[in-house]
């Protein structure tokens, strides 16, 4: 039961107006082959959930430049001038989320949790419109889960069942997003047989992965 597929099969799962999570931190740990495919396919009006909008010529930043996004939920846009320009021109909706809150919201989505209380953002504009809950004298914001139609994940190694190993700082949001989407597509640098990875080195269990392409 191998989940290894061709790029075209992966792209067939991605359509206009979907919400897509894409792994990576300023492009490190982003599946660039799948981004190439999205650019070529030209899907539009996507909602992107990612750590940041990377750079104009790298990772998800290229999808900003190609104007395929309707909305982004990220923690940082400062490295991609085009994101700020489109935001100010009201061509792109930008929701800025503190990075740790973004990680927890995605984790909640994947873990069946209805939300989480975080101290981050209390007393700032991040709290606007959110429920505040005080416990033992400390005030928290109730932050809600995030889920996606599709997650695009970059792995260092994958086995054919979809078990994944990430490398160094390329791990970042990838394991969280692999849990939080209805359909999970992985781009792996190396694909090995099921059983070739030690069960303890696996960072994402294959059970949550739907499709693997070689990247």
């Amino acid at each position: 039961m191998s989940k290894v597929a061709e790029l075209e099969e992966a792209l067939a799962r991605i359509a206009d107006n979907q919400t897509i999570m894409i792994g990576g931190f300023l492009g490190t740990g982003t599946p660039e082959g799948l981004i190439d495919g999205l650019l070529e396919k030209g899907v539009k009006n996507l909602t992107l959930i990612a750590n940041d909008t990377s750079f104009v010529d790298k990772g998800v930043g290229r999808l900003v430049v190609s104007r395929q996004l309707k909305r982004v939920m990220v923690s940082h846009i400062g490295t991609n001038k085009e994101t700020g320009r489109q935001m100010n021109a009201e061509e792109l909706e930008v929701e800025l989320v503190p990075q740790g809150t973004l990680a927890e919201r995605i984790r909640c989505g994947g873990a069946g949790l209805g939300g989480v209380l975080t101290p981050t953002g209390v007393g700032t504009i991040v709290e606007v419109g959110k429920e505040k809950i005080t416990k033992e004298g400390k005030t928290y914001l109730l932050e809600l889960p995030l889920k996606a139609d599709i997650a695009l994940i970059k792995a260092w190694k994958a086995d054919t069942y979809g078990n994944l190993v990430y490398r160094r700082s390329a791990r970042n949001f990838n394991p969280l997003m692999a849990m939080a989407a209805a359909f999970v597509i992985v781009e792996a640098e190396e694909i090995v047989a099921a059983g070739a990875l030690d069960p303890d080195e696996i960072m994402t269990p294959g059970a949550v992965v739907d499709m693997i392409i070689k990247g």
């Binding site: 994947g110 873990a111 949790l113 078990n163 849990m179 059983g195 069960p199 303890d200 269990p205 949550v208």
Partner: protein
């Protein structure tokens, strides 16, 4: 001839398709593993922290750190993966399990399940059962149809403390297969040689009898 437990386990195994991730509770549900054909490629989740629960190792080949949720030595199949308890229950609660199979003390027509305590008598704790029942995409109860004393376990309303409310999808017993629907408990399959009168007599809840009922195999 198969005994009741084997009949139930064999039928439950047919619920699964290739790629499904399934958690089998301690006790009778564990026997289901014996009836999963290798080609079914069902992966078993062990709540103590791994996917890929495999058969009991040969004597002398046990590893102290490879045990199931009942502390019995097991193996991990190729493609298996280990993780911590937060991840184990993220998989459970997050809907990543196609199904969980659990025993029951009582089930009722609203899909309520009681299987974790008898006040004043047996209070073992819920372990992972409450999460499994709340989180798995399909909850299948595998149990003998009545108590040892012959009393119904499929009730109009559970009397024992609940494990979860409105979460059970199917009940498989040695007498038949039942589905919990918004209207009540529908009989889907009847074991060979069992009459409608017999299964209803052993069930407190009123069974909905559709036009078509398959033979349970």
């Amino acid at each position: 001839m198969m005994n009741s437990r084997e009949i139930i386990a064999k039928r439950v195994a047919k619920f699964f398709k290739a790629g499904d991730l399934v958690n089998l509770g301690i006790g009778m549900p564990t026997i289901v593993a014996n009836y999963l054909p290798a080609e079914a490629k069902v992966m078993l989740h062990s709540e103590n922290g791994f996917i890929g629960l495999g058969p009991t190792p040969a004597e002398g080949e046990e590893e102290k750190d490879v045990v199931n949720a009942g502390a019995a030595p097991v193996t991990i199949v190729p493609g298996g993966a280990c993780f911590d308890s937060a991840m184990s229950f993220a998989l459970i609660r997050g809907g990543h399990l196609a199904a969980t199979v659990l025993g029951a003390l009582e089930v009722d027509e609203k899909g309520n399940l009681a299987n974790w305590m008898v006040p004043g008598k047996m209070v073992p704790g819920m372990g992972g059962a409450m999460d499994l029942v709340a989180g798995a995409r399909k909850v299948i109860i595998a149990m003998e149809h009545t108590t040892k004393e012959g009393n119904p376990k499929i009730l109009k309303s559970c009397s024992l403390p609940l494990t979860a409310a409105n979460e059970v999808d199917y009940i498989v017993t040695e007498l038949g297969v039942m589905e919990i629907t918004p209207e009540g408990i529908a009989l889907r399959e009847l074991a060979s040689g069992v009459t409608l009168e017999e299964i209803q007599a052993k069930t407190e809840a009123n069974l909905i009898i559709p036009d078509k009922i398959d033979i349970m195999e």
